[in-house]
Structure formats: C-alpha cells, structure tokens
C-alpha cells in the first residue's frame, strides 16, 4: 500500500468560528481498508473535522482529496454521492417509519410510478443481510434495539456505494455484545476495502479495533501513530496535551490538613445505565477530584448524587442520614448543590436577569410564598457580582446575554448563595478564560477552607491535581482507583485513566 495515494486526505484545514479556531491547519489521512481511530477531548476539533470532510461545514482554508482528486462537497448529501458517508452518534433516522422505509427513504424502488412495497422489503433485507443482521424490516425503527438502529444507519450509509465510512461515537449507547457485533461488521467492511474513521472515547476500543490513531488537540492533528506502537498512557498524554515528563513533575501540592476524616457525604453503590456501582466519600473541607475521559461516568455520578437523575440503585447519605434520590429539591434541602456541566441546557435561564438567576435557588428553597423581594435579590446578586467579578453592566441584564464565562459565574453564584454543605462542580472552568479559571480554582480553595465538602470534575487533569486533595479516577463507568495526598500526580491519574497494568 506504501506509495498508493491515501483514500481520503485532508491538508491544512482551517475553520474559524467567532472566537474559536475550531480547525487550525488540521491534516488527516485515511488508507483504503483501514480502520482509523480519531481521538481527542471535547473541543479538540474532531467533529469540526468530520463536518469539513462531509461538507456539513465548508472549511475556510485547506483541501480534501478523495482518491487523489480534490473534492469540495457542499452538503453531506453531496459527500455521500462522492462516497463519504457518516453515521452520527444520535441515530439520524425516522423512528416512526419501518426499518425498510428508513433504509430506502427517497430512493424506493417503484413500479408503475408507485412504491413497490415488496421490492422495498426485499432490498432492505438484502442490505441488512450484508451486515450479517437479521431483523424484521417491516417493524417501526423506533421499536428495534439501538444496536439494530445503528446497524440500519450504517446499512443506509453503505447502500450509497460508500468508500469512506465515518462512525461518530457509534458505541456510546451500546452494550458489550452489541459493540462486539458492530466491530465484526466494521472489520468486514474494512476487509472489503472501505476506509473507516472511528471516533470514540473508549481507549480500549481503539486497541481492539483500529490500526492507526490520529490524535487531535486544539484544532490540529498532534500525532498519527500505529496503534500498536502507541502505549495507552502516551495516548492519554497526547489527548490531554501533557508530556509524560512534565506529568511526573506536577504533583499534588494540596495536602489539605483541614479535611476531616468523617465524610459529609457518602455514596454507596450508585448506578444508572452503564455507570456504577460507584462509592465515594466527600469530606468536610476537602475537594475530591473526579477524573476520567469523556463518557467515563463523571457527570452521571454527580447528577445521581444531586438528584438530577434517579439512580437505579445505591444510596446517598449526608452526615449519616439518607437522602431520598431522584429529586434536586430534596438534595438541595439536604445541602447538596450541583453546578451542572451543560450550562446552557441545565443551568442558565436566559430570559431572566442576572439578579433573578442568582436568587433562583435561594428563592426556590424558601418557597413561593416567602419572596425575597427585589431589594433582597439585588443585595444577593450584587454581592456575588462583586466577589466573583461577574462582568455585567448591571444585575438587571438578561443572563443569556452574558459571555460564557460570566454565565458560568452566575450559575456558581446561584449555588454559593444557598450556602451548600456539599458542592458538586462539573466542569466549572470549561470554555472560560484563564483569569476566570484561576478565580474559580481559588474559590474552590476558599470554600474548602470554610468547611464545604467539594466534588470537582474537570477534563484537565492538571487542574484536578492542582485543586483536589484526593482524586477518584473513573474508567468506563467504574472506579479505576483512588489517589490521595502525595500520590495525587498527573502521571498517576493518567496511568489509572489509561488502565495500565490491565493491558500490556
């Protein structure tokens, strides 16, 4: 294969969104018959690269070659006719139509100008059989298992004479058996000469399935390696942008003396879906870091503790007393506050003013018949606008009009205002500038000093190590290990994330 031109090649792709260089000269190359992993943390540029390859987003600079020829698809449909098909994480099909109709939508075989139902059925069965899947193609797609729906999406993509198949996190909602079946199908496709781009957050799957790995960070491909020649620790280091030598140097500086031994919050056996069972203790005056890659179960754990999602099993105790699960209200009453990861969907009320957003949780705890009043709300809001340095012309500005970092501070203020005993921060520093980040990290220290028990989630391991006195590492929904005191170093956290020792 040595000198043959790559099947799909991207050179110097650039895509600039207001305020972000999503792609900053990204290169990518895929050989025919190869399964190629595309790795990177959130915001690394993976999805923008896929969009640029498939015409969903026109790149500002750079070129894409397919089989040596420059192509410029302007829409995903155009890319499909060229032979580049994509299957997205969320199955993009119509759940109410039958499997067969979904497979052939828009190009059903016709007879006398009408759709030939029998031919549709036959053709659909053939397509699924090619993937080695037997399914009743007459049933509504929505009634079939997710794995079959995923296969249907792949079958539809392949029907269009695909030469390149891009799979964007196809396994995130599959169980182990379904994943294995999907892998079988993907290997079969590669054997037929199709180039497969496989995007995933599960490191184990990369080694199970892929021959080569491209790691992206900050809109660029920072490494292209053979999977066999890339130890998992190094892969994690590349994704996170930490050199291994550096990682050795950064140690846990926070041996917090103040953190008491008896936990303020104790969770045992919490589980929901793929995540769990998880046990953890949060100590008064201590910060427990929750580290792990995306999809490792960090957010799910925090949400179960805070009552945002109802756990399928396990319990949460505050000072030894159980908190009934599944209700944020009860969790708040018990002193638990969660600053959620998805600020826009779960936290900010965009039409309400900064004042109302900050006062919301305090007011909700008091109940509707005991209003704080405009003046009281202003006092609370102005205090936090000052102490957190929220940049806003005034507390009456709609919160939706603030910048991301300031919205994050508004959400933090909302939870600080209720004076929680346990504060769960899920990615509190994502997407905010360096200064604001330092302020938030400092704030965590202050809160610990005041005896708050903290849970701190961040994708940045250095940050977790800087801020936390203990770190619980999650991998694939389970605890991979816990570190404390002097043992908290970037390297040790990375080793646990990479699952070293379990894989050669």
């Amino acid at each position: 294969m040595g000198d043959a031109p790559p099947l799909l090649e991207a050179r110097g792709l650039v895509k600039v969104y207001p305020g972000v260089r999503a792609l900053d000269g990204a290169d990518f190359s895929l050989r025919a018959g190869e399964i190629h992993a595309l790795m990177g943390e959130n915001g690394a540029g993976k999805s923008t690269l896929v969009k640029a390859l498939t015409g969903a987003v026109p790149p500002d600079a750079g070129e894409v070659r397919l089989g040596g020829r420059v192509v410029r698809p302007r829409t995903p449909v155009e890319a499909q006719t060229l032979g580049i098909s994509t299957v997205y994480q969320e199955v993009n099909l119509a759940p109410n139509l039958s499997l067969a109709e979904n497979l052939l939508l828009g190009r059903q075989p016709r007879r006398f100008g009408l759709i030939d139902r029998r031919a549709v059925r036959r053709r659909a069965e053939e397509l699924m059989a090619r993937l080695g899947v037997r399914a009743d193609v007459g049933r509504p797609l929505g009634s079939l298992p997710i794995a079959v729906q995923q296969m249907a999406a792949i079958a539809r993509a392949l029907d269009l004479d695909a030469r390149v198949l891009i799979l964007d996190e196809p396994t995130s909602s599959l169980d182990a058996d379904e994943t294995a079946r999907l892998f079988g199908v993907v290997r079969g496709l590669a054997a037929r000469g199709i180039g497969v781009v496989f995007i995933t957050h599960f490191i184990g799957q990369v080694y199970d399935l892929c021959a080569r790995v491209t790691v992206m960070r900050n809109g660029r491909a920072v490494a292209v390696r053979d999977a066999r020649a890339l130890p998992s620790l190094e892969l994690v280091a590349l994704m996170l942008g930490v050199s291994i030598d550096e990682a050795r140097a950064i140690g846990g500086t926070h041996a917090r003396a103040g953190s008491s031994a008896d936990p303020a919050l104790r969770s045992r056996g919490l589980r929901r879906g793929r995540v769990g069972p998880i046990d953890l203790d949060l100590r008064r005056g201590g910060a427990l870091g929750l580290a792990g890659l995306l999809g490792s179960g960090r957010t799910e754990t925090a949400r179960m503790i805070a009552g945002a999602d109802r756990p399928e099993g396990g319990r949460v105790e505050i000072d030894g007393r159980g908190v009934r699960p599944g209700s944020p209200r009860r969790a708040i009453a018990a002193g638990i506050a969660l600053c959620p990861e998805d600020r826009k969907a779960d936290a900010i009320v965009p039409g309400l003013s900064v004042r109302e957003n900050i006062a919301l949780a305090v007011q909700a705890r008091r109940g509707w018949w005991r209003p704080i009043g405009r003046r009281g709300q202003r006092a609370i809001a102005e205090r936090f606008v000052r102490s957190l340095r929220i940049a806003t012309p005034g507390v009456e500005k709609p919160a939706g009009e603030l910048s991301g970092g300031n919205q994050q501070k508004v959400v933090l203020a909302r939870w600080l205002a209720v004076e929680p005993r346990v504060l769960l921060l899920d990615e509190p520093t994502r997407g905010i500038d360096v200064g604001a980040k330092a302020e938030i990290e400092r704030l965590v220290g202050d809160l610990c000093a005041r005896g708050v028990a903290m849970l701190f989630i961040s994708s940045e391991i250095e940050e977790v190590v800087r801020v936390c006195d203990r770190v619980l590492v999650l991998r694939d929904g389970r605890a991979a290990g816990e570190l404390s005191g002097g043992g908290v170093t970037v390297e040790s956290v990375m080793r646990l994330i990479a699952g070293e020792g379990e894989r050669a």
């Binding site: 944020p328 209200r329 779960d346 900010i348 309400l352 909700a364 509707w368 209003p371």
Partner: protein, 333 residues
C-alpha cells in the same frame, strides 16, 4: 438606581406593543370619532364609549390574565371558553333550578372553574400531555358537560345578586370593570408579590434548569392552569349575568382565541418564559376598543373581522424582532 429604572423599563417594554396600539386607537378616536371621550353620568352611573369599552372588554381581560400565566409556562389553555360555559351553567342551574342561594351558586361556579384548571394542570404537568392537546380535551368535552348541566336548554334566571354581577354599579363604576380591575390587582399581587411569577418564568424559559434549581416545576405549571380556570369561571359568570341566562352552546365561544391574542399583544412570549399581566389587560382592551370603534363608524360586522385581523397583524409585525431588524437595515442610508 439606573439599574432599577432599566428593570422597570424592561418590564414595561414587554407591554409596549399593546400600549402603543391602544394609544394609536385612542388617537384615531380623538380625531375621527366625535364624542368618544365624553363621559356622562346617568343617575350617578358613568356612561360613554370609553366606559363601554372597559365594560365589554372585562371578560377578555379576565381570560387574558389567566392565559398570560399559562403561556408563560410554555403552555396554552384552549379550554377557557368551555370553562366559561360550564361556570355559567353551574351557577344558573343551581340558582334557577335548585333554588340555591346566589352566593353559593357563585362559589360553586368558581370552584368548578378551579377544578377544570386543576384537570388541565394534571394532564400537562402531571401526565406530560402537550398543552394544546390536553386543553383541547376540555375545550370539546367542557361544552358537552355544560350541556348536560343545563339539559340542553338555555337556563334563564332572575336573581338580584347574579344580575348585579354584570349590570350593577358601585360608586358609579360598572361591576365588570371593577371585577376585572380587582382580578388584575389580585393576579399582580399573587405573581409579582410572591415568587410565583419568577418560578413561572423560570419554568417556562428553561424547565430543566428550574428543576435543578429546586423549583417545583410541576406544581408551578399546574397552579398557572388553576388560576386560568378560576379567571375563566369568573368571566363565565359575567357572560351569563350579561344575558341573564346560561347558554352552554355560545357562552365564551372562540374567546380562547381573543385571550391568546390579548396575551401575546401584551408582550407574553408564546415560547414561554415571560409574561406581562398589565400588557395582557391592555391587549384585551385594544381588541375591544377596536371592535367598539368600528361599530361606532358603522362598519359592517363582516368587514369588522377583516379590519381587526389587519390591525392585529400590524401589531404583531411591529413587535417581531426580525421585522424590526429588517426595518433598521433598510432605513440605514
């Protein structure tokens, strides 16, 4: 202090389209309708076109107040017209057929309205049925229930207390105006004097965030429907008192549409998340004012509907941010 002024301006800003529309309507009448602003007192009672607008507009004002709260939660209540019919039928049959004392009949009608609202609220907030579908149930079934109550007939009554609701005067002012004003005051107090308004707006704007902040989103939503049912029941009593009869077929017919229109004209966002009760009342008065104005100018009833629709379209376009942005771009040199 400037901040507080800005807050007040923003609150008023929501009601601005309705306020401007009412202003234009008044200006038109000042120029072209002789005697529109004349106020006379007949036997100590206020009379004149302005009083007439307020008096006849009271029913839609009541409905619009409840509707604004429901719309702010991200919902809509299509059943208010039917609830009016049920409330009227309840009061009329109890008073006229069963000899129940008028005050008890009124209390029963109001309670039935609240129960209807609770039913809607349970469907929407409890069972998660889409508001349009959930309230459509009662919109259709409610008239049937009212028919059953009246036995398919128009139940007439002649009771001094029930008659007084629509025809009475206190201190020279007609009762419907006083009732609507009191309802506006009560609903303002209930929503803005407590945290209920904040919770309604939070739940309508970002339900997930409101829930995570500890707001009882379901209860808050349900309460909006209950208040809307209450307002509709009072409106139904006024409508029945007006004709001294309960007409299960025609009481409040299509008024849900006027109520939605009034709320939207008054700056309540159909996407949920913000409401203005004063705006809703102004919106209702604009609709009634327009009808009265056209009537005074001898416009035929058929043409009236078209003029009304055109006026509403103009107000909505003026309030549309996209249209405003477009005009701004076009008017740049």
């Amino acid at each position: 202090m400037r901040d507080a002024a800005r807050a007040a301006l923003r609150a008023f800003g929501r009601a601005a389209p309705a306020a401007v529309a009412v202003g234009l309507l008044l200006a038109f009448n000042a120029a072209y309708t002789p005697g529109f602003f004349d106020l006379t007192t007949v036997e100590g009672r206020l009379a004149g076109s302005m009083v007439d607008v307020l008096n006849r507009g009271a029913v839609v004002v009541l409905l619009a107040l409840g509707m604004a709260l429901v719309i702010a939660t991200g919902g809509v209540d299509l059943s208010v017209g039917a609830v009016m019919a049920i409330a009227g039928a309840t009061a009329a049959t109890l008073a006229a057929r069963h000899g129940v004392n008028a005050w008890s009949a009124i209390a029963a009608a109001v309670a039935v309205g609240a129960a209807a609202g609770a039913f809607n609220g349970a469907l929407v907030a409890g069972a998660g049925v889409q508001p349009i579908v959930a309230t459509l149930v009662l919109m259709v079934a409610g008239r049937g229930a009212a028919q059953l109550l009246t036995g398919g007939q128009i139940v007439t009554f002649n009771d001094p207390v029930l008659n007084f609701l629509d025809a009475g005067f206190v201190a020279g002012a007609p009762m419907p105006v006083l009732i609507a004003a009191a309802a506006l005051a009560c609903s303002l107090l209930l929503s803005r004097g407590t945290a209920l308004g904040l919770f309604i707006e939070a739940a309508g704007d970002n339900e997930r965030a409101a829930r995570l902040a500890g707001v009882r989103v379901r209860a808050v939503k349900a309460s909006a429907y209950v208040l809307c049912g209450l307002a509709a029941a009072i409106a139904g009593l006024l409508a029945a008192s007006d004709i001294r009869a309960a007409d299960a077929n025609n009481a409040g017919l299509y008024l849900e549409l006027d109520a939605i229109l009034a709320a939207v004209l008054g700056g309540t966002s159909l996407r949920g998340g913000r409401f203005s009760l004063a705006g809703a009342a102004l919106g209702a008065l604009f609709i009634q004012g327009l009808t009265t104005t056209l009537y005074l100018h001898d416009v035929s009833p058929n043409a009236t509907l078209i003029v009304k629709a055109a006026a509403v379209l103009a107000v909505c376009l003026a309030a549309s941010e996209r249209v405003r942005a477009w005009i701004k771009i076009r008017s740049r040199p």
